[in-house]
Symmetry: C2
Subunit: 420 residues, 2 copies
Amino acid sequence: MSTWSETGPRSVDEHRAAVAALLAPTGVERVALTDASGRVLAEELAAAVSLPPFDNSAMDGYAVRAAEVAAAAADSPVELPVAADIPAGRTDVPPLAPGAAARIMTGAPVPDGADAIVPVERTDAGTARVRISAPADPGAHVRRAGEDAAAGQALLGAGTVLSAPQIGLAAACGRPDLAVRRRPHVLVLSTGSELVAPGEPLAPGQIYESNGTMLAVAVREAGATAELLSFVPDDVERFRAVLAEKMAAASPARPDLVLTSGGVSAGAYEVVKDALTGHGVEFGKVAMQPGGPQGCGTLQLDTASGRTGVAVATLPGNPVSALVSFEVFVRPALRAAVGHPDPDRPIVTARLSGDLSSPAGRRQFRRGILDAASGTVAEIGTPASHLIGALARADCLIDLPADTTAVAAGEPVTVWLLEV
Amino acid sequence: MSTWSETGPRSVDEHRAAVAALLAPTGVERVALTDASGRVLAEELAAAVSLPPFDNSAMDGYAVRAAEVAAAAADSPVELPVAADIPAGRTDVPPLAPGAAARIMTGAPVPDGADAIVPVERTDAGTARVRISAPADPGAHVRRAGEDAAAGQALLGAGTVLSAPQIGLAAACGRPDLAVRRRPHVLVLSTGSELVAPGEPLAPGQIYESNGTMLAVAVREAGATAELLSFVPDDVERFRAVLAEKMAAASPARPDLVLTSGGVSAGAYEVVKDALTGHGVEFGKVAMQPGGPQGCGTLQLDTASGRTGVAVATLPGNPVSALVSFEVFVRPALRAAVGHPDPDRPIVTARLSGDLSSPAGRRQFRRGILDAASGTVAEIGTPASHLIGALARADCLIDLPADTTAVAAGEPVTVWLLEV
């Protein structure tokens, strides 16, 4: 089998597919409702009870037989004895005898025999006897059992992303927890002997480590969990030993994906490439900018528990390259692994506010600011892959196809929205 | 001063302003970068160091004097001694002597005296001597110190919502933490003696508690923290005692807002209204549907630590009314309190897929499903405020003005997007 580097650059779509294929769908776990926000439902939610569970009043008022108040009017009220008082939550509601009314509160069970509710505003609010000054249609202000959902009815499909309304619905059905897809666990490694932890003093030639923190945050924002290991020294044996140790861990500490940044280009000291080449991870070029040097595969290492494999994606070390690569390759793969219905960022078309040129043969992801009101997008910063300041002020990526060499102001371009 | 209920219904905008006015801007706290996702920056972020901090190489290759390789060509390479080897992170880089080259890796400091980088691909990759087969323009492949940001330059303004790129930028500047606005703390109370905890058996007349869980999740999704207290019995004294105890707590357990659902309509057993009336909380009608009965104010109670006040918003008890009221009144107030630049949901215009009628004098928020591709929106379910099943399948609210009584298919309506 020829290697990737021998067959020339991959297209963005080819590498997207390769990374996505590394991650199997995650398993199922049960979480309490209050922990379910943002998770993806793993199985259909059916109504365990009817919603509402019983006929109940939509108003504070009086339960009546509609026929008995048909003649009621302001100048000739119908007076009935109040045979019962039914607050919400009453579980021993007697049937309503003919010729009587029952005082009833919103949400309380409608007594057998009653078929309408007269709102309190249309009565004298009496407690022993009540004078009713308007008729009620049969069924008026009665919420029927099962009106929202019949018991057993499907309410939400597997793959639904859960937030407050869906969680409220599950609670209304009596479910204390829900089956959701397990979050993938990602081990984020940043490499480079020039890196210093933020907050420490910086010597000449050193820079602050930012990729690890940035990628760990991005992983969590994508719905996965992250363990961040920074400052693995540029030592191939040590690097493999750290990975083997993590791969031998039991779930949930065992990573579903190892995500590295840096150490993959053409230099003499490329710890990621040197450590993983020949162990199941392939390195090569993707026809994109930023983010040309990429790698991925299933790493095979001997661990304490035997030979084992783990998915690996290696991102380039420039911060803009790393984050754009994450957006293009890793975020959709992580979201697809939990069955998210929309793995990709929202994509819109906007008109360019100024001319752009782009190198032939490489798909470009430029940093932009979208003006949704006018439908235009402006580039921010330059194509250079180290300008993280511009990336941090961007709210979108401008996706220029590989065969595009120039786009004039006013022409439409594809935009990926990087909403928070 | 006349009370709200005497002056007639408030408009939606009046009540929005009243609820928002209850919450003062929250204070400032420092959080580690990995905890800053979704938070709002409280102060301007300035570059503590230049970005990049020093001139560095954009390529793996050789640092040279451009003038010394100006004549280099494939058929007549320039050969130079390799005077130094400069990996990334080297902190003791010697100046480059005239007539020499230095092997240099991406990100490594450019030595004094060098003014261009020749990529390794245009050399024989020599380590003692190197043959250079192409010229380099002055400045080629050199990233200048401060090119992204000069030391002291403003990078992100107060009010920026933080996610991976902004957090990466802060890390690149050497910041281990950031000053963000404190999340408001919300005490969520659901009331009602008919309520049973999900997972427990249901007697006739009882329903599962869903509002508390749903609202606690909605509060957290709005960027606040929530404490959920369910099943406060319908006992006015007990209700006030629970509130007084919570109000006497020290921050962060002390609520910035007490959020109730239920117990506010015209019935005979309205614990929220009965407990809070006369203590600074006003109740009345808002000209909207669902969600007509509302209340808010600053609750004044005698606590163990003296008389004290806390913001209260009381939502109606029907689950759809409760969540729509949260969206219209509470979510924007919580987000404004942390200085969020976009307190409201994204709002778009779409064409109705079918006719809708609406009662005069009440602003309606109907549940809808947006088809972004065709720009149309369809109602799901009915206007009835107990249909939580339909709410859970909706992805937007259709906002019909109070004076609208009918909208025909194809006409434009305002839509609030309830994205996850």
